[in-house]
Amino acid sequence: MANKLDSKIPSGSIEDKWTKSKFDYKLVNPANKRKHSIIVVGTGLAGASAAASLGELGYKVKAFCVHESPRRAHSVAAQGGINAAKNYQNDGDSTYRLFYDTVKGGDFRAREANVYRLAEVSANIIDQMVAQGVPFAREYGGTLANRSFGGAQVSRTFYARGQTGQQLLLGAYSEMMRQVDAGTVELRTRREMLDLVIVDGKARGIIVRNLITGEIESHEADAVVIASGGYSNVFFLSTNAMACAVTAAWKAHKRGAYFANPCYTQIHPTCIPVHGENQSKLTLMSESLRNDGRVWVPKAVGDKRHPNDIPENERDYYLERVYPSFGNLAPRDVASRQAKYRCDEGRGVNESGKAVYLDFADSIKRLGEEKISERYGNLFEMYEKITGQNPYKQPMMIYPAPHYTMGGLWVDYNLESTIPGLFVAGEANFSDHGANRLGASALMQGLADGYFVLPYTLGNYLGSTKLEKVSTTNDAFKAAEHGVKQEISKLMNIKGNRTVDSFHKELGNIMWEYCGMGRNEEGLKKALQEIPKLREEFWQNVRIPGDANYLNVELEKAGRVADFMELGELMCRDALERKESCGGHFREEYQVDGEAKRDDANFCHVAAWEYTGENKASVRHTEELKFENVHLATRSYK
């Protein structure tokens, strides 16, 4: 067991590890690169940048996505920005400081060596994206503009209005399309990965369903990269796009890839609250709003007056009160929990009682409406479109929502999973964010993995591994195809009475209630009883109309929900076993005055789960985390 979780952290000082690795890695000579084929699943920031770079190096790349176009991957929705240790502001930033902030922000549950490399290549990311024509915000002198973000005391966030994710994705997508034109990348859209094929112990291909024709296809390669994003949609309501699923990663998990820290989910504090039964997803309001918005609830329980009628001395600006030094800019996990506490006390606003105010009145008075509109105009318009209320005239209402998942497939320093030849990049892996993700760091990781890490580590794998030729007529492919077809026909033949969404919503409620912002032993045990019951009902009573051999949206959703049910159970088990609080994982039994209480003596490790078979308990393995550079300390924002 222990040798399976070899993190392969290179020796030497933290500053030299990556440089040394790059020299030590085996190379593939240019003429041999075109003899190697690589599959990339997912075409968001991590997948598109990986496909573009690998294609450009000369490998034969096949890229797959569920969308009609790679440019629609969910990376597109990120608003705020991307961090890089450029120190353009001369305010004391450095690779080391970005590394330090990220390790601390992740509540000391990330691997130091990975985080340092992330900080190290962050500057290259900005160079690369600017050279590709990403229109970042500029100062009048023509240099790049920066702003600050939660969890940092320096201005290191680069941004493109409120559409940083979209512009970065367009950059990576266009580089990938350049390789499509050059013939090095073959693009297969509207394909969903439904199994991983392993030959002689190595990842050698995937099985996909063509979502338009229903056809099941086999694709072989010398290595597979999964960059399929996160799994927040396990909660049903989340800020993730509708097609975000765990399926590709989960199928790989079932084939032997360990799943690490599944319970680590980030709850983002500033989302538009739920409005009713039919709501399909939640919309995020950028964290940057907390720079000028003040968060409050009425002091009195049950005060239902219009916010503008509640006088100043009857308002509780609780973040400023509890965290005087960070105030409204307290980190996401802290701000989210505080909102929950206030609503649990009965002081929440909105009809549901599940919202708090984010008030711009003071800033408008101080800076003028024009300045506020210049800073946040598009967000204010979006808020008004969704809620019908004008945030210039009355406070916004916000509530926390599931946003980003720090858990994912376990990978070593080379981003290789426990299955040789299966690499995992971006949000789909577990590696860089620990128990909590700071703002503007997800985009950074996606591009770092795809542009600057995988081209080296994958080359090393191909250069140092003997790979026999395989073809899709191989028995392993046939068996996997058969399994996929059987599962589909099983789903289609249930012909029950309940819709897929009704199951998904019920699962989401269980997950939010018992494995959401706060978790405790009793609740998690309850969830572990309820989820298997729900899963059983699903497999007996789900209704999928239509046919499997053409476009069938309900069938697609059913497959994803089936995987979410299994994942949800693992998340609860992981949360139950981790008897401490850290970052976004808040076990109510382990706290000091409402603050997370870590247990470094017993839990300073990554928990990686091994799948052992249907209806069998997964086995928990651990990878010890060593903090040699950033010393373990309690996070405090007071």
Partner: protein, 262 residues
């Protein structure tokens, strides 16, 4: 934000597949919350259809935040519906009146074949991008970002063009089904930046050629595209594209072999 509900009649385009004839079907949407988005209203109608064992209405959608560009169809003759600068996923039911009948149909264009119901195939737009909608920059060794100075005004204007979400509403709104607004926004974005200069002419020629080859119609500058665009992409992009294309053609050099002796 609560309270009122609407009852609507939907005349929805149903089409099983690309080769199927297709036609309008009347469906009822009852007790729709005015706080629901248009797509959430369709979700509710679909839940009812699935409950009866019927197939749900197929439509493309994903982020539901107005940024991914996946969603879009025509409501009462208008791409993305009646609200200005709004994608259909951000269109909310409070903008409709109780008892109304709404006609919902897919984006129609020869280059956008219907896949099913309201879902169309827009991959022609990806092919326009792969024909030159990029700046060639190999990964790994770009110069320091601040070594490329970009005047703020240029960066802002490039950004305004780059906000196009590739949804295809411009094509659907155009009587010629022209993709000029989309293609020109891409050409403009890169033509305005110093990084885009090297390939500027080649890019204009190749992207315009790809656009024509995909079967999009010609632009006659009616401005319907700009009016329908959920991201306010401006017509001036089209003028810029035309200028880029003309200059590129007028100054085009014949390609010659540049192989050298070893």
């Amino acid at each position: 934000m609560a309270g009122k509900t609407l009852n609507l009649t939907l005349r929805v385009w149903r089409q099983k597949g690309p080769k199927d004839q297709g036609g309008f079907v009347d469906l009822q949407a009852k007790n729709v919350s005015e706080d629901a988005s248009f797509l959430e209203m369709l979700d509710a109608v679909n839940e009812e259809l699935v409950g009866k064992g019927d197939e749900p209405i197929a439509f493309d959608h994903d982020c539901r935040e107005g940024i991914c560009g996946a969603c879009g169809f025509v409501i009462d003759g208008e791409a993305h519906g009646p609200m200005k600068s709004t994608t259909v996923c951000q269109l909310h039911m409070r903008n409709f009146t109780d008892g109304a009948t709404l006609t919902i149909e897919p984006f129609r264009a020869q280059a956008f074949p219907v896949i099913k119901d309201l879902m169309v195939n827009r991959s022609a737009m990806d092919r326009i991008i792969s024909a030159g909608g990029y700046i060639s920059q190999n990964a790994g060794n770009a110069v320091d970002a601040n070594a490329i100075l970009v005047p703020k005004a240029d960066a802002d204007e490039a950004m305004s063009s780059a906000t196009c979400i590739q949804c295809g509403a411009c094509v659907a709104a155009c009587k010629n089904a022209s993709a000029a607004l989309f293609t020109s926004a891409k050409i403009s974005h890169m033509a305005l930046l110093p990084q885009g200069q090297v390939e500027r002419k080649e890019r204009a020629i190749r992207m315009v050629a790809a656009m024509d080859a995909e079967g999009f119609g010609a632009c006659t500058t009616t401005g319907a595209c700009e009016a329908a665009c959920p991201k306010d992409i401006q017509l001036t992009n089209i003028s810029r594209m035309n200028r880029e294309f003309l200059v590129a053609n007028a100054t085009k050099r014949e390609k010659h072999s540049d192989g050298g002796a070893g």
